[in-house]
């Protein structure tokens, strides 16, 4: 009897692992198909321009305050951290350089993306999820309007365009945050901080960070669209879709951060 139970138990574990693996592959397959459809529908970019503008407003303008707020503190933390790590090792003229490279390459793009994933990605998933469970997406279909071109592609374009824009703002504000710490708490002069920034500025750092943010914007929008449009089961389903969308984006942002870093900053 215990042996039999044991076998049953093991089988159910194997079965569960097998089933989840299949589900995972199916889900990824579906996500890639969606990405393909969105790319194809980019040819309707001018027809649906007003939707794109609306989504760009939502993506960019609505998250600007929270992005800037996070960025100023990010810059300040970077300042404190850099000052602490360099203490006694490196002359303080290097502080600006340390902060700026950390901000431009990593902190600006990645933290902006994570904040936006929580704000905009969740919003996209919740809105589309609600549209799905209340049959609004089916209604579009029956009116011979393609949901990919009408709903998903504009969000995709908004993500790809606005994430870099937000990142540029975040970078700037974070450098200001770093300057505040440098002057007020570390006690170096503004001139010294600026020199540090200027002498160690590499275009590649800035561009690399922005390239990252394009990918992050695409990840956030696609994940929101994918989880939103796959929503099933009423209000509870919408909640799940929202959570899944944020978790998926956050993980993918970190993975792609590594991949792109390894590719650009060799």
């Amino acid at each position: 009897m215990p042996l039999k139970l044991n076998i049953l138990f093991q089988r159910s574990i194997l079965e569960n692992i097998g089933r989840s693996t299949i589900d995972l592959f199916q889900e990824w397959g579906a996500a890639f198909i969606l990405l393909g459809k969105i790319s194809l529908s980019l040819r309707h970019i001018f027809r649906n321009f007003s939707q794109i503008l609306t989504q760009m407003m939502f993506f960019g303008v609505s998250s600007l305050p929270v992005v800037l707020f996070s960025a100023v503190f990010t810059g300040m933390v970077a300042g404190v951290q850099a000052a602490y790590q360099m203490q006694g090792l490196v002359p303080p003229i290097w502080l600006g350089a340390g902060i700026s490279r950390a901000v431009l390459i990593e902190l600006g793009p990645v933290l902006t993306a994570l904040v936006v994933a929580g704000r905009v990605g969740a919003g996209i998933a919740a809105e589309l999820g609600t549209m799905k469970v209340t049959e609004q997406i089916d209604a579009l279909e029956t009116m011979a309007i393609d949901p990919v071109a009408y709903l998903y592609m504009p969000r995709f374009v908004a993500g790809a365009v606005m994430a870099p824009v937000l990142t540029v703002f975040a970078n700037f504000v974070a450098l200001v945050g770093g300057w505040l710490v440098a002057v007020l708490s570390v006690g170096i002069s503004s001139q010294m901080y600026m020199d540090g920034l200027r002498f160690h500025f590499h275009t590649r750092d800035l561009v690399g960070g922005i390239v990252k943010s394009v990918f992050f914007g695409i990840i956030i929008a696609t994940s929101g669209c994918f989880h939103g449009s796959a929503t099933e089961g009423g209000a509870e389903g919408v909640g799940k879709a929202t959570t899944n969308s944020v978790v998926t984006s956050a993980v993918l942002i970190l993975i792609f951060d590594y991949i792109i870093s390894a590719w650009i900053f060799r």
Binding site: M131, T134, D138, A139, M143, A144, I145
Partner: protein, 242 residues
């Protein structure tokens, strides 16, 4: 003419449709009745190509809905209108934008012409002057009427109703019934409604079909259904539990 022949559909291992045969003649109003969860909405979704049958076919004027490509399907759908159970109004658009969306996307009409058509359709459903409201500001019955205006905005030949009166008070339900009858005579529509509301069915139908355990077990006029010897049909129209 819509010809549904021998369609099967199952979800996971659950057989929902198991050989449905039904044809709807041009110009008639066919009402499909059946208990909750028996597959009425699934059947409607097959007609408009939102779902594909596992087996069998749905032909609209000879075109097999599940065998055509997306472009052809979209062309076909422009000749069909559908009223969803919860109206499915786009909640980010105003009433007027909801009704005019199809025209804006598919026609060459100017904004003024579209606005005129929208006002006319809203008037037909008794919702004049509500164009500027958002769907969230409407009651259930008003949503259904706007949904109806949206469904007829492109002057379709066919219209599908998913439970048009469910969830409405009897007076509002009767108004919707009257609207369905009025629209039909005004626009020469072929209509298919699914419902579990027998009062509504008896009032609007030329013919009634009953869906039960995945099959059509009865099809006839409202007079004939009253005289049907089938016990399952009698129980349903009298509202008796078994």
């Amino acid at each position: 003419m819509i010809d549904i022949s021998n369609i099967y559909k199952s979800f996971n291992s659950k057989q929902v449709l198991a050989g449905v045969d039904l044809s709807i003649n041009t110009g008639e109003t066919m009402v499909i009745i059946g208990g909750s969860g028996c597959g009425k909405s699934v059947l409607l979704r097959h007609i408009i190509g939102l779902m594909q049958p596992d087996r069998g076919s749905v032909k609209i004027d000879g075109t097999d809905v599940s065998r055509i490509n997306r472009k052809e399907l979209f062309a076909l759908r422009k000749r069909l209108g559908m009223l969803f159970q919860g109206a499915a109004l786009f909640d980010s658009l105003t009433v007027a934008e909801n009704v005019g969306l199809g025209l804006r996307e598919h026609s060459e009409y100017s904004a003024e012409q579209i606005s005129d058509i929208v006002n006319k359709k809203l008037e037909m459903v008794g919702m004049s002057g509500t164009g500027g409201l958002m769907p969230a500001e409407l009651s259930g019955g008003m949503k259904k009427r706007v949904g109806l205006a949206r469904a007829i905005a492109m002057d379709p030949e066919y219209i599908l109703y998913d439970e048009p009166t469910t969830g409405l008070d009897p007076i509002m339900a009767d108004k919707i019934n009257d609207l369905i009858i009025a629209l039909r005579s005004r626009m020469a529509l072929t209509s298919i409604a699914v419902t579990h509301d027998m009062v509504s069915a008896a009032k609007i139908a030329d013919r009634i079909a009953m869906l039960h355990q995945g099959k059509i077990i009865f099809c006839g006029t409202p007079e004939e259904i009253k005289r049907s010897p089938d016990e399952r049909v009698q129980r349903f129209i009298k509202g008796e539990a078994d």
